[in-house]
Symmetry: none
Subunit: 307 residues, 2 copies
């Protein structure tokens, strides 16, 4: 017999924690399932400068703890388990985890996104051995060394700028001839002497025995092959939403994000989405938190109308 | 000659302040226009318990000040003036105020909504001291106490049902002999033992010294006067978005809220909407702030693409 709740929230980042705060405060019996550590992606952020209310900034880890403390104080229960499936039954929704099942009247999916991988030879074997997805975490390991950043968006340039504080040279490899990143980041990156750009190139392979030694590059227009020595490869090509277990159950966009309306309702009654996992999410802490509040209010209304 | 900006933000509540934070941090020359005091509706909230990151709660006034300080530190300029019109020109947008005009590449409308007020003695003085316009915000402050809800629509019954989870008794005062609310909400409310109804009555006065003590009621058909002790009065007679000056310029819903997509874009290029003024807003501080972040990111993208 599965434990039964009013609301189950999948994911303990800012969206899930805020949904938990709102659902618990509405006196709904609420369970949050998180596979690793509450706080989500922000736990790796040294300083969150753009969450309103903290003029001096706040460490991501600390902000996650504060949000969790606030929701817990209002009654939110948290269990560490990875969700592997959701089933729709006529009278409730069943959530399966790697450590047992739960049932709920409403489910809020706030599972965030994971870093997208290049999918090239050497990447998996050398992850943690020079291949990284988080400059904030690993940049200090590459002092006075050459590193490669792969990507052309805000994330890639943010990583490059951070790495430039440590590395001797940061080469940004981008598949196009111009960046997608915001103007301010482009200006900053172009002005930083330690940052260089390799345009119209993709990484074909990450080389090294036991540790990254370099990358093989391909010019996408000419097919020209080249190689570059580097001690580190930072992959910043985007995020993959954690929705594989939802395929065939919920409507997803082509990137795998959940389609939901502006009340955070999916097409399936009783299932709501919030945060980075949602199509057109702004991918900002405060926007994810706002989604979480809206999703919890919609879930509360849904449960009230069930009677 | 009007002063010229990249972004003008109309309204200094959480949505406008967060938009200001994001736009300024993106190095956009940004002006915020606020007609009264930064902070918006939250300045009246004694304690905001549901803004994530503050487990002990925070006074609404203080939260508004912190948000303003953070945005100002990043370069946001603020002018106190009431916006009376927006004009669309081919090359920019012009914002007219009661104290001069401004032009901008992008405008973010975050002017909020005002709760319709009863307009009776005691209401203004006791707002935030027992008089509230938001059960989601304030219901937990009335545990095991008697509260009054004024109104007969969906909002009033939603407020009453939410309050019934906390209060010992919820008396709904309605000027007619039947409700406008949807059938399902009526059924729920009639089935809830803690909810009672006082028909054909209006509130003539809210009584109390420094804190709500009760209401004076008048029977609209007989003129009979009565009084009722209560610790809280929740006024739920509708919202009025601050959009009168936008009629004929922007598409509005029938209640006067701005129609915008999930990127906060309106149908008019370069005009964005954020917060309570937006159709289907969750009407919560954190959701408004999230809207503000999303609107500023969209405005930044719009300006970048203008070149």
């Amino acid at each position: 017999m599965s434990s039964s709740y009013d609301v189950i929230i999948v994911g303990g980042g800012p969206a899930g924690l805020t949904a938990g705060l709102y659902a618990s405060r509405a006196r709904l019996n609420t369970l949050l399932l998180e596979k690793a550590m509450v706080g989500g992606q922000i736990v790796n952020a040294e300083l969150v400068e753009n969450y309103p209310g903290f003029p001096q900034g706040i460490a991501g880890f600390e902000l996650g703890q504060l949000m969790h403390q606030q929701a817990t104080k209002l009654g939110l229960q948290t269990v560490v388990a990875e969700v592997v499936g959701v089933e729709l039954k006529p009278e409730h929704r069943a959530v399966k985890t790697d450590d047992g099942g739960y049932i709920a009247k409403a489910v809020i999916i706030a599972g965030g996104s994971e870093y997208r991988r290049l999918g090239v030879p050497g990447e998996e074997a050398l992850t943690g051995r020079g291949v990284s997805y988080c400059a904030t975490c690993d940049a200090p390991l590459f002092k006075e060394q050459v590193v490669v950043v792969v990507g052309g968006g805000d994330a890639a340039l943010s990583e490059a700028l951070f790495l430039a504080k440590f590395a001797s040279k940061v080469m940004v490899v981008h598949r196009r001839h111009q960046l997608r990143a915001s103007q301010i980041l482009q200006e900053r990156a172009f002005a930083e002497a330690r940052i260089g750009f390799l345009w119209n190139r993709v990484v074909d392979e990450i080389e090294g025995k036991g540790r990254v030694a370099g990358v093989k590059l391909r010019q996408v227009e000419t097919g020209e092959l080249s190689s570059l020595e580097a001690a580190g490869v930072f992959v910043a090509i985007g995020l993959r939403p954690n929705t594989r277990y939802l395929e065939g159950i919920l409507p997803l966009d082509e990137g795998g994000h959940i389609l939901a309306n502006d009340l955070m309702e999916t097409e399936i009654a009783g299932i709501f989405a919030a945060g980075d996992i949602r199509h057109h999410s702004a991918r900002q802490v405060v926007a994810a938190a706002g989604d979480g509040a809206a999703a919890a209010l919609s879930a509360e209304r849904f449960i009230r109308e069930l009677g």
